[in-house]
Structure formats: C-alpha cells, structure tokens
Symmetry: C2
Subunit: 305 residues, 2 copies
C-alpha cells in the first residue's frame, strides 16, 4: 500500500508514473481541495480532476489539465450571458462538474462522488479528497484577499503574495480513509506539488501531519523546485510570501518534521548537505517529467527510497 | 401592445412571424413552464428556451428546439458518469441552463433570469414565464404518473394518456406582468400550441382565465390541429385522454369561454359552423408554418382579426 499526497499537474505526472510501475489498486492519492471553487453554481475541484483525468488517460497533456480535444461551446455561451468568464471549463469537463455538483446537492460527500467519477472513468487508483469539508485557500495581496484560483487564473499570479489564508482549516477534518491511508501505508509519497497551496493545505487538515509523524511508512518527497524555481506554477511567489527560501532546501524545511527522504534534482545536488542537516536523507536524480518514461523512472526511484 | 400565450415549437414559429410584422418591443409572450424539469440539478425550461432561441435567431430550425450547430460533448460525458441520459442538452444550450440555475439558486426569480437571458441574446420581445412558482405537468398513464418530459421525450409519448395532473396549479400565481399583459393588450394571441399541456397549463394559473374573460383585448387563437391531427406533438393523445374531440372544434371548445376568433386551416373549413355555434368567430386560412413567409403571413392574418 502506497499513499501519495498530491496537488495538480506535477503530482498527476508522478501519480501516472507510480500507477505504471506498481499495481494501481494499491495506490491511494490524497488530493488537495483548497483550490476547489464554486463557479456558476458548479463545484469545481481542479486538482481532483487533474489526477482523475490523468490516470484515466484522457487529460489534455499539453495543458496538463482538462480533457484532451475538449471544446468550449458552453463557456462561450456563459461568456455571452455573464459578460465575463475567466475560468476555463471544457464541454466534456463540465459533465464532471455538473455531475459532482448534483451529487453534492443531493447529499453525497465529495469522497463519494469522487469515487463514482473515478469508477466511471475507469481509474483503478483510489483518489481521495483531503477533506469533505469546506476548505478554501485564499491569497492575501495588496489588492485584497482572493481565492487561490482568482489569484492564479484570473490575475495570472501577478500580485505579490503577502500571506496565505487557509479558510476552513480550523474546522476541516480529513475525509474518510485519509488518516488510515497514511497510517497503513508502507510508503507515503509527497508529490512535487506546490508546498504551500497544494501540499501545505493537505498538511493543514487536522490530524494529517500527526498521522505522517506517527505512521511507520517511509515518507519520501519529490522537490517541486529546480535550480531555485518551480517547475511550473507560482510556488516561488508563495514561498517568498511566507518568508521561505525558494529552493529545494526551502521546501525540505517545510517537510522536515515528518520526512525521511527528499528527492531533489541533479541541478540542486549542491543543497544535499544543507538538507541532510535537517535530518532528512537526500536522493539526487533527474526529477523533470516530460515523457512517460521520465515519469515511470522517477516513480521507480521513489519506490526504491 | 399584443400578448401571446405560447408553448414550444409551434408557438415560437408564430411568435417569430409576429415579431417580423410588428414592433417586437410591443409583443409580450407568456410562456408555458409546466414542462420545466430539473435534470442533473439544472433547471431546464424547454418552452422558454425555444421561444428565446427562435426569436434570437439561433434556434436549430430543423429540430425546432436547441441551438443551431450545437455539439453534445457534455451530454456524452454525463452519459458516461450517469449511465443514461435521455434528455438532449447541447453544449451551448447548457450555458443557459447553468446560468438560469445559478441565478435561481442565488434568489432571482424565473422572470428575472429570463429577462437577463433574452437581453443577453438580443431578443426584443418580452418573454414572461407563466409563473415563477413550481408548476409541473404530469401525465397519468397505466405505467404510473410521470413528468410530461418523461412521458414525451423519455418514453416517446407511447403511453395512453389516462389523465393530466397539473402539480402546483393550486398554488401557482401568475408571474409579475402576466395578468397586466393580458388586461392591457389590444390583442391576445393564443398560439397553435398543445391545448392541454401548453396553453391548458397557462390557463390553469390562477387569474389568467379570468383576465382573458375580463380584458377588452380581441382574443384570437390559432388551431394546433389540422385535419384531425396535431401539426406536431402529442396533442391528439392528450385531447383523447381528456375525452375531447381531436379536431379544431375540440380545441375551440376548450377556449370558447374567452375566445373571440379561432383561426383554422382550410382543410378544416367544414368545422366552421360547429365552432361558430360555440359563439366563436372563425377565420379560415393556411395555418401550416414552414417558411418564414408562412409565419409572417399567418401573423398578419392574426393581427387583422
């Protein structure tokens, strides 16, 4: 049994790699839901969908999210009706949001509807939201506090990050199976996701960090930072906003209290000693995942830690 | 000021004709909402949309409903997720349903959201739902009582109609502007729609029939029955189910208490005398509307009644 903590695109690549080098049924992915947002009355779960579509083999690989070959007719219609529309919602993708929203309104939990969606799309890996409760990552900027997706997608992550507000974190409890998946795993993989708004949110759910400290599983993280910059996304701005160093070391600091091994890129080999001084073993390898081969190779490295 | 009572496809054709031979801003269409249905948590208003899309010039003219050139990717996705999907929802069409549902959930009335949709789509004619309240046409069959769309679309109108149950009719009040539009009109046009489940529902909303009797407007209806059969739809089955004659005369009987003039097709000229004996004047003309010219010609005949 292997459990992964995962955000969006970077995580999904490693999840795909893992699912190819092990029995995917023995893999559980605990997914960040801090990016979840209500748009047009629909419940959008960006990271859950990226993981699901990737493992279902239908993701738009060029973008890393959405469904390959999807069209945007409905979005065009919504734009006409609302005058503006900043979040991309493909027609086929919308089926997921409509189905999810309807199930949630009918009383299902996010865990339950996620299980239904993954089953319908033929995903064998267990995908769990980190929580079934409301949890919303908000970014504090000089222009005000805004939903993460607003900061990221609407405003193009242009604003300086003054702080991060995890709305709901004080009340959110782990979704059913989350703590068990960590406690009963042989290996917990922290995917190369944003350490603040993807992994940081999962770690902020009550009991998750304690479970990571308590479990007998090996805990291995893959650095999302290469040569002082994130592979993708605004992790640099968020780390800086929290007064953290934008480096593999800066990420290692955030995980040091529970982490056994940190996998960093060869370009960051120079950081090995500093990270080991945090009490974390270091594995140096190529961490960029462009091809499927990159993904399975990195997955194997992680499994061997 | 001219006010029309309207159902779906047949009505929309005459509305289009009227909007071309008069100032469309002086036309108000009161639309049946008894077919409205919740599907996937979305509020679908089939007749409101047919009228809106037709007057906006974007209707799929071949089908008579939906948007021309629309795609069905989202529906395919919903089919995968739910295992079945019997109601056609195009991708572009879905924007309307998503927008409407979100506005209704946010507290807007159906009248308000309809006004927003028609404005956004450039429709100059005022389109009013018959009521903002829940009103659901249910068909009683030997297999049980079902929503009209279930009877019609899901089951292909194959079941014998044992009765019609207008759920909510006892409580539904006319939408704002409905009674006024009837009372202040010079002419009220009853479109060639199903007399039971399109016009019958509008007439069943409290105060509408009284307003029709009370208004000084000329009241002119166009027969939806030609040569003993409906131009389209299951009006024959519904009339028969209520023990009514399937003929222009059978429809005239249902409207006789308020109607001044009944426009019937030349093929039904033989019914003229029987209808006049109900105290209703008869105008005989070609009522089939295939081309835009047919529609404007019939609209002119109606306006001259």
């Amino acid at each position: 049994m292997i459990t992964a903590l995962a955000g969006g695109v970077g995580a999904a690549k490693l999840l795909l790699g893992l699912s190819r080098v092990m029995n995917p049924k023995n893999l559980t992915a605990i997914i960040n839901t801090g990016d979840d947002i209500q748009l047009h009355g629909l419940h959008i779960s960006p990271d859950l969908d990226i993981a699901t579509y990737t493992l279902a083999g239908i993701v738009d690989e060029e973008k890393g999210w959405g469904i390959r070959g999807d069209t945007f007719s409905c979005l065009d219609g919504l734009r006409k009706l609302t005058g503006s529309e900043w979040f991309n919602l493909g027609d086929c993708d919308l089926a997921t949001h409509i189905f999810r929203t309807n199930c949630l309104r009918s009383g299902a939990t996010l865990t339950e509807v996620t299980a239904e969606i993954t089953r319908a799309l033929g995903v064998n890996t267990r995908i769990l939201p980190m929580t079934d409760d409301r949890f919303e990552t908000r970014i504090v900027t000089a222009r005000g506090t805004m939903h993460f997706e607003e900061y990221m997608v609407k405003n193009g992550a242009k604003d300086e990050v003054l702080g991060v507000n995890l709305f709901g974190a004080d009340k959110a409890t782990p979704a059913p199976g989350v703590v068990e998946a960590i406690e009963e795993a042989e290996l917990v993989v922290v995917c190369p996701s944003n350490p603040v708004v993807s992994i940081g949110t999962i770690l902020a759910v009550k009991g998750v960090r304690a479970a990571l400290k308590h479990t007998k599983a090996q805990k291995v993280a893959v650095s999302p930072i290469l040569a002082g910059a994130p592979v993708r996304g605004p992790a640099d701005k968020l780390l800086r906003g929290l007064g953290r160093e934008v480096s593999a070391f800066g990420v290692a600091e955030l995980y040091a209290d529970f982490l056994d091994t940190f996998v960093i890129d060869v370009v960051d080999a120079v950081e090995e000693e500093r990270i080991e001084r945090l009490g974390v073993k270091v594995k140096v390898t190529n961490t960029l995942m462009k091809t499927l081969e990159d993904k399975t190779r990195l997955a194997k490295v992680v499994l061997e830690c």
